[in-house]
Symmetry: C2
Subunit: 659 residues, 2 copies
């Protein structure tokens, strides 16, 4: 039975929830396919996550391997294929709790970097799971700066082999997934040496474990890097190589080849490689970043209408905590962001698909813009969503702090997204470099890519808003965001030029501007996110209340950004103090409006109880009962502790050796 | 051997590290005592935390109980007493990793709330550990709102007993420390009923486990609440009571008594109770909040001079990451905050001691101010320090995400401080209520407590700074902070009055202002923190470079606050845009200045390697070696996994039942 405090929230929805779900899925048919996948996965006990919060790292790893192996069967049974429409929903339905994700990266790197001959040899082996692959790039001493990797691959003409070494401790491969215990093969990135000359980083296929008994190959030391904040189910590993010899044919050679006599041949363009990174950064946004924020919003908002605490009006019943303005101000902007970034993701996907089509026509013109946008948005969205999940966690008080709420593991997992696939600060600086370059070009009257043409049109006007309702106009707030992005980019470009003209060396000048460059990159992405949300809303169907509620969320997303960062808008007087007070008033008014639809808006994300795996967030809102039931199952209640006999009894009975 | 990249940082310290350590400790003699305690604890293998990151919740609990019991012996052996000068250093030396902390709360609540007779009976039993006490206040359904607690204690005149019940699931006690597995007794807070009439919340001593065999007493159900984000070593518990009878004498009766015939008698003043909460909030700041931030700064800053990544200047060696402006901008403000809040804590302690002296003279005048300041600063400092630890964690990239860095557990632990002992938003609203009240009083010409007299002096001037150096003047920035605090308080007071005058009911009006009230409370605390830091620096000895470096940190703390919150200062034109650019320039300049002393500044916190328990933060900076050594010891490497035989081998050998 549904908790009436939750049930009543659903009766007053201003829009059709099912319709919004279909919009998020990209059509009702997609919703149907997704639900069928979820149903098939969740009804299979092998995929259960029920005891996840009670398991040790070892138990989590074993369960993930079991699930990965079982998934092969399941796909066959269900008729799902890697190219089928169901495939993209499987990972989400499993909540990512599965091993061998790096096996797919292993395969993709061979497909992208390998010769036709290498592809023909390795891909079938990998597809049939005659080996388990990994991807060994990051080292103890190097992550961001790939050129600094220290692993070496020396070509030995006599034997036609590469000799691989991790010559010092910092050269040890560190972090590769599936490598600690599972992988039999890996793609090692190493500095290539031929006749004593270094040719830079190249990829090599290296077998690390026996296919017979899984023992480590000669010269190979490997293991697990130990406990992490999350990802207990993945055996992130380390790898030491000591004079490990591999045949010449194992260097992936689509772009570069070493001939038998040691001649180094470069062939084709490597530009496509950047495109791979772009593709990874965009693809992680949906599964690894948006889904956790949507889940956290679902949990925190459902809990906040079930939890009653203190009285809003004297003499009345205790109030639902979502009725407090401060709680609305914590949660509803996160909800708006979850929607905003969903549409940003659509925008990036579309741009990416367009870029892909161009590249296939050998037109690489879109690459710099795509790289800048995917870098900046990866950083901005992971940053916002991580902060959002943390806010949801804190907003649930003590119960949010229990692992049983599901929120801690959402947080500790999404946090990693700020670091992997490009550390956020580094990525924002790449976006900033593109912005500065385009700003200079635009100022000189040269053409620039579409997303940055606005930089050319520096206007020195003022915000025209006259009352708080004006701030519900997308034109008004989008222009304000644009103004800030232009101002931050142009002022930082000016500072950079001033420094260089005053004699500061170029790299020093750049370093002295990086704090402000990061601000400019964020402002650029924020502007595009707001603009895209507003344009998306414009095009939505007006039926079933969808456009209206999305418009409210768009307004909230935009005004929350201004309210949280007033200085950027006030700085040069574009927005006046009186206008900022209007923003505040409009923003606070919106909270009360959206609060009414808060539960339907999270229901539309359509998470099952099993996928949320949260005692606070279930569809029926029976929070306290579930917390109590789940706690019973904890090993802290299921296993007798020796502490009483060993320590407490002697203490209480005063039979400890006399003090 | 010390990593030369770390060693070189120590040779250029602009101040005497040992002198700064003594300043932080409150004198060289205190430093000596502290170090003796640390040495005694850390040389005792029973107190080792070496394997902490590898242990399960059950193992952590058992170790904490073992340590707590061993500590009794140790104290006797060392001649340490609860009133001795060593006592306050023990908990810090143990990094809080010990059981029975609630036993002390049990004792304190009896001392404060019990009659002389009750104190005479229970305190000796507790002191001699003939029982283990806990403190059962929070329920599944109520934390913040104590009046809403649902546990009942009905007086039965026939038997002269109270009958205790947790009549519904939400009434279950939930969270009390040491209660899940250890405690034999607890203080239960329950609604007192006599002859059908409710007299509100009162405290009762209830035995929950047998002193003979530790079995649960009749009518008692208790257990552990399961996994949490941290505090695995504490058996936070739940407690259900079903018609549990306790003698009339077990109601703690310093302030209220139930006579044998059921007459309810109230005696004395309960105001002192508020003082207890104030005392707890202030005392937790040092151990639970400042220490974790200091540790996180130590780890992240030492790592940032050892980690080299990418090149700052082409052709040179890779740069220490602390040489990047963006890394400085992440870490150095946290370092400044760690110092700022150390001095805030001194200020609060002094105020508290003064208040305590007054109360002993039956003068309760200082209570409202003390309550407002301790609430506001508890919220502000826990919030800033939690964010600071998270920034330190992220700033260490992938290695920060490993539990072996020590940063994840610092973060997950300090995060709880935002919730316990008063949820931060609630606390800030209490401070705000005090501010509004005082502002109204001051506006009406009435006297107000010293910390808020500034509210009376609303000035409409402008910031007089003419260049960036002016912003290194404490008068300039302190006044700017004061101006913002006054503005936010007065404008919110005006909004509140306007709403009420326009017919909005008082409680609704209050709710509609809470987002802004929270801002006002934060601004008030921030102003006092800045002012106090500046005044403290003023009084420091000028010798050994101490005052100079503290002045830099004070400037950084103040300017970082302005830089991060420019809108508040720009809003009414008190600070102009040109002045804000000066703030930015002065702030960025300071980063480069303080960067030179960053390592000596964290060295001055004087943490041993054992207390940091971090592969990244050790004094010798041998980061990679230690990560590798520690990972070897992980259960993921020490325990054979059955996953190969069960799943991987059948998969690789294609002996899974045919797909």
């Amino acid at each position: 039975s549904v908790n009436p405090d939750l049930g009543s929230e659903r009766q007053t929805a201003s829009f059709c929830v099912e319709r919004l779900t279909a919009l998020l899925d990209g059509g009702a048919e997609q919703t149907r396919i997704r639900r069928a996948v979820v149903e098939a996965i969740e009804s299979d006990p092998v995929f259960s996550r029920e005891n996840q919060y009670f398991q040790t790292q070892n138990e989590r790893y074993e369960a993930a391997v079991m699930k990965a192996v079982h998934l092969q069967k399941k796909m066959h049974e269900m008729g799902w294929t890697e190219n089928g429409p169901e495939y993209k929903y499987i990972y989400r339905a499993l909540s990512g709790d599965v091993a061998f994700l790096l096996h797919r990266v292993f395969m993709r790197s061979i497909s992208v970097l390998g010769s036709d001959r290498q592809i023909a040899k390795w891909i079938p082996l990998a597809t049939q799971h005659k080996l388990i692959g990994s991807y060994a790039q990051t080292e103890l001493g190097h992550g961001t700066y790939l050129q600094g990797l220290e692993t070496t691959a020396v070509f030995d003409t006599a034997t036609q082999e590469f000799i691989l070494n991790t010559p010092k401790i910092s050269a040890m491969k560190w972090w590769p997934g599936d490598m600690g215990r599972s992988a039999t093969h890996t793609v090692v990135f190493a500095q290539l040496y031929i006749h004593g000359k270094c040719y830079g980083i190249h990829p090599f296929i290296v077998q690390i474990r026996s296919l017979q008994d899984h023992s480590l190959c000669p010269g190979v030391t490997a293991g697990d890097i130990g406990p992490k904040m999350n990802f207990e189910h993945i055996d992130n590993g380390y790898l030491l190589l000591k004079n490990v010899r591999i045949p010449r044919e194992n260097m992936l050679s689509k772009f570069c080849e070493v001939r038998p006599d040691g001649t180094y041949v470069r062939q084709g363009s490597q530009q496509i490689n950047y495109f791979t990174m772009t593709s990874v950064r965009i693809s992680l946004i949906s599964d690894e970043v948006l889904t956790p924020l949507q889940k956290a919003c679902t949990i925190a908002i459902r809990y906040s209408v079930v939890r009653r605490q203190s009285k809003l009006k004297p003499g009345e019943q205790e109030a639902k905590i979502l009725d407090y303005q401060t709680q609305q101000e914590k949660l509803l902007p996160q909800l708006a962001a979850a929607y905003a970034f969903h549409f940003t993701n659509d925008y990036l996907q579309e741009l990416f698909d367009k870029g892909y089509r161009e590249i296939q026509r050998k037109n690489f013109d879109m690459l710099p813009e795509l790289h800048a946008l995917s870098s900046g948005f990866k950083a901005m969205i992971t940053q916002h969503c991580t902060a959002g999940v943390e806010i949801c966690l804190r907003a649930c008080g003590g119960h949010g702090y229990s692992l049983l709420s599901g929120l801690p593991s959402l947080y500790t997992k999404i946090l990693a997204s700020c670091i992997y696939e490009g550390e956020n600060t580094i990525l924002l600086l790449q976006t900033a470099r593109f912005l500065i370059k385009c700003f200079m070009a635009a100022s000189a009257g040269q053409p620039v890519p579409p997303s940055v043409t606005y930089l050319a049109a520096v206007k020195h006007g003022k915000c025209p808003a006259k009352n708080k309702l004006d701030f519900l106009s997308p034109d008004i707030y989008t222009e304000a965001y644009q103004h800030v992005a232009v101002r931050l980019t142009s002022s930082t470009a000016a500072k950079l030029q001033d420094l260089i003209q005053s004699g500061v060396k170029k790299h020093d000048a750049w370093n002295q501007c990086t704090v402000q460059l990061v601000q400019a990159a964020k402002a650029h992405c924020h502007y595009i996110a707001v603009k895209n949300f507003a344009e998306t809303v414009e095009k939505l169907e007006t039926k079933a209340g969808i456009q209206k509620i999305m418009k409210h969320l768009c307004d909230l997303f935009a005004l929350h950004g201004i309210f949280s960062n007033t200085g950027a808008f006030l700085h040069d007087g574009y927005t006046s103090a009186a206008q900022m007070d209007m923003v505040t008033a409009a923003y606070l008014d919106l909270l009360a409006v959206i609060r009414k639809d808060a539960v339907p808006l999270v229901d539309a994300f359509d998470f099952t109880d099993k996928s949320l795996n949260s005692a606070l967030g279930s569809y029926d809102g029976q929070v306290y009962q579930r917390l109590y039931e789940w706690a019973q199952k904890s090993p802290t209640n299921q296993q007798m502790s020796p502490a009483y006999e060993r320590y407490l009894k002697p203490l209480l009975h005063n039979t400890l050796s006399k003090l």
